[in-house]
């Protein structure tokens, strides 16, 4: 892939793959559950589990913009960012901005909760159940199923907010956040100076991450 030299890489390919596969998985998971294709629901759910484990690992050992330490900020940084976003021209952050970071944490947290509850959930007839549900009794499994439904609603609200925010950046702040999430790059002139950081993927770390992600997926099926 040839890109103009003035573009900078803000999202490595694993981040983008994680994002868009999750975008595809959520409606697929909803649909398989709705239509009762529970074997596929479980397969897709385990895929999401693996992706989440990788994303959490990548949040500690991954490329700079993927790391939680680089974007999870305290209230003062969030306020300062909110104020700076009122100034024109708006200069986008290289990775997640401090306000958007809240949304990232909420979305990831909800997805982790959603998948975890699903592992233990039991349907109302006791016929279908998550791969770890044999560890809990019927009533507890039903409770997990109810949480599984509740977190899904929260997730839908959070996704709605996320999409509205992306729309707001586009319409109000004239900043396209979708293109960098597809290509990984944004024009250098709209990026802040710290974009000198490399956001490439380290192969050894990638291999470790994939192995780590696979572990729980196989473990819960034993």
């Amino acid at each position: 892939m040839t890109t103009p030299a003035k573009d900078v890489l803000v999202w490595d390919w694993t981040i983008r793959l994680f994002h868009w596969v999750t975008v595809g998985l959520i409606p697929a998971l909803w649909w398989t559950a709705e239509e009762g294709h529970m074997a596929w629901h479980a397969r897709l759910g385990l895929t999401l589990l693996g992706l989440l484990v990788f994303r959490l690992y990548w949040g500690v050992f991954g490329s700079p913009t993927a790391r939680f330490s680089s974007f999870v900020k305290g209230p003062s940084a969030i306020l300062a960012y909110a104020r700076s976003s009122l100034r024109r021209p708006y200069v986008p952050s290289t990775g997640h901005n401090p306000l958007g970071a809240l949304s990232v944490v909420a979305l990831l947290g909800l997805l982790v909760a959603q998948v975890s509850f699903g592992l233990f959930a039991v349907d109302v007839d006791g016929l279908e159940s998550g791969p770890l549900s044999s560890l809990v009794d019927f009533k507890t499994g039903r409770q997990f199923a109810e949480w599984h439904e509740f977190t899904f609603e929260l997730l839908l609200w959070m996704i709605g907010l996320h999409v509205l925010a992306v729309l707001g950046y586009w319409l109000v702040l004239k900043t396209n956040l979708v293109r960098p999430m597809v290509t990984g790059r944004r024009p250098a002139e709209t990026a802040t100076p710290e974009t000198a950081t490399r956001n490439g993927v380290s192969l050894p770390r990638l291999v470790i991450g994939v192995a780590l992600a696979g572990l729980p997926v196989f473990a819960v099926q034993l």
Partner: protein, 167 residues
């Protein structure tokens, strides 16, 4: 900006439609006595406990069947329990124990509006539960698996038409 306003407006519409109450709550008559001597609320509680117990037994069988080496004795106990409850279920839905009794229940009015259809669904379950127990007592895991799937199908068959969706 216009698109954004449109987005906000549609969000408000969605919010409003979620908030609306969809059922009028009926006047509470849970203390009224039924011909069988139980109150309406006692009857509803009995059948909910019973059906929950059937669900628990199904889960036990399902959990065992998922294992490479299922515990047949546990399956037998559970299957016997399902069959016992299947004999009682016909008495669990006397007239007057629907949602209009004011007691919380997912039993739909279609149970009493279509008694023949409901009875046919119950009979299917009774038959399948009997066959499940027979298969369980034989100890043949493959036969249990097949009978379990059939019995599970009869749960869904009835629930699709006669129980409110829980979501």
């Amino acid at each position: 900006m216009k698109i954004q306003t449109l987005g906000l407006a549609s969000l408000c519409v969605i919010l409003a439609s979620c908030g609306g109450a969809d059922t009028e709550s009926a006047e509470y008559r849970g203390d009224e006595e039924l011909p069988n001597g139980m109150t309406i609320s006692e009857m509803i509680e009995t059948r909910q406990d019973g059906l929950e117990d059937v669900g628990g037994s199904f889960k036990t069988i399902s959990d065992e069947l998922k294992k490479g080496d299922p515990n047949v004795a546990d399956i037998q106990t559970a299957a016997a329990n399902v069959e016992a409850h299947s004999q009682e279920i016909g008495d669990w839905f006397p007239e007057g124990t629907g949602a209009d009794s004011g007691v919380e229940t997912e039993a739909l009015d279609s149970i009493w509006e279509d008694p023949e259809g409901f009875e046919a669904a119950i009979t299917k379950f009774e038959t399948a539960a009997g066959e499940l127990n027979t298969a369980a007592q034989s100890g043949d895991v493959e036969a249990i698996q097949a009978a379990f799937e059939t019995a599970g199908g009869t749960c869904k068959n009835c629930h699709d038409s006669y129980r409110a969706d829980d979501d």
